[in-house]
């Protein structure tokens, strides 16, 4: 089990590096600007830290207007974080089985110790934590 955990951690570290490379590549191709690279990287680091490094690295895709979309998928759970240049980011959750939807506007630029990530957001993020291996 210890080996599996180590391999999982290594894979996540590699995916994190690939996310960083991908953001820079999207900048080079002109899909997003340097501010969006910084915002996207800040968002990932803040969410990762707020979940005690349990949140997996998201899939990422630029939008047509210079915004960036992160997605997490695990079983029936789907979560999106859409980041915009001049507006708060939008979180969107969809449960594929129940059809339940949830939305939340998150101002990533203003998140800090005094204004942390709200509990209801953390609860949604926790749906994507990898299951702990049994001892």
């Amino acid at each position: 089990m210890a080996t599996t955990s180590y391999e999982d951690a290594l894979r996540e570290q590699t995916r994190g590096q690939r996310l960083s490379d991908y953001l820079r590549e999207m900048r080079r191709e002109g899909n997003i600007d340097v501010d969006m690279v910084a915002l996207s990287w800040r968002a990932w680091n803040m969410l990762h830290a707020a979940t005690s490094n349990k949140l997996p690295v998201p899939d990422a895709c630029p939008g047509p207007d210079g915004h960036m979309l992160y997605t997490w998928d695990l079983r029936e759970h789907h979560l999106e974080l859409e980041m915009f240049a001049n507006n708060p980011a939008e979180l969107f959750y969809r449960n594929r089985l129940s059809g339940n939807l949830w939305e939340f506007d998150l101002d990533i630029r203003n998140l800090d110790r005094e204004d942390p990530i709200p509990q209801e957001v953390l609860q949604k993020l926790s749906l994507f934590f990898p299951e702990c291996p049994t001892a």
Partner: protein
């Protein structure tokens, strides 16, 4: 292989992510059948359309008939009108992504 799939018009081929050889195949009728969850009558059906590649010749815009100029398939109906809640369109978009993930091929 891709051109054959393009021509049959029932399958849409879309390149996926970083890998230039990875493509998602989506059935056009399955795309047209998608509806937001919960449904809303304010949201029109999605559609798949074919756009020919165009070229300018002697000042006129004409279909490009050169070899390889097949054009491309595109989806319509994903642009949200301002009076419609965005959750309906985000629901559609995520369903569309689910559909695309069902059949991904890698050309070698």
């Amino acid at each position: 292989m891709c051109l054959g799939l393009y021509r049959c018009r029932r399958l849409t081929v879309k390149q996926v992510g970083f890998n230039p050889a990875a493509f998602a195949l989506t059935d056009d009728d399955e795309i047209r059948a998608l509806r937001p969850e919960p449904n809303s009558m304010d949201v029109p059906d999605l559609d798949v359309v074919w756009d020919s590649l165009m070229m300018e010749e002697n000042g006129m815009i004409l279909p490009d008939t050169r070899p390889g100029a097949e054009g491309h398939a595109g989806k319509t109906g994903l642009l949200r009108p301002p009076f419609v809640e965005q959750r309906f369109y985000k629901s559609l978009r995520s369903q569309l992504a689910d559909l695309a993930c069902q059949r991904i091929i890698t050309l070698t």
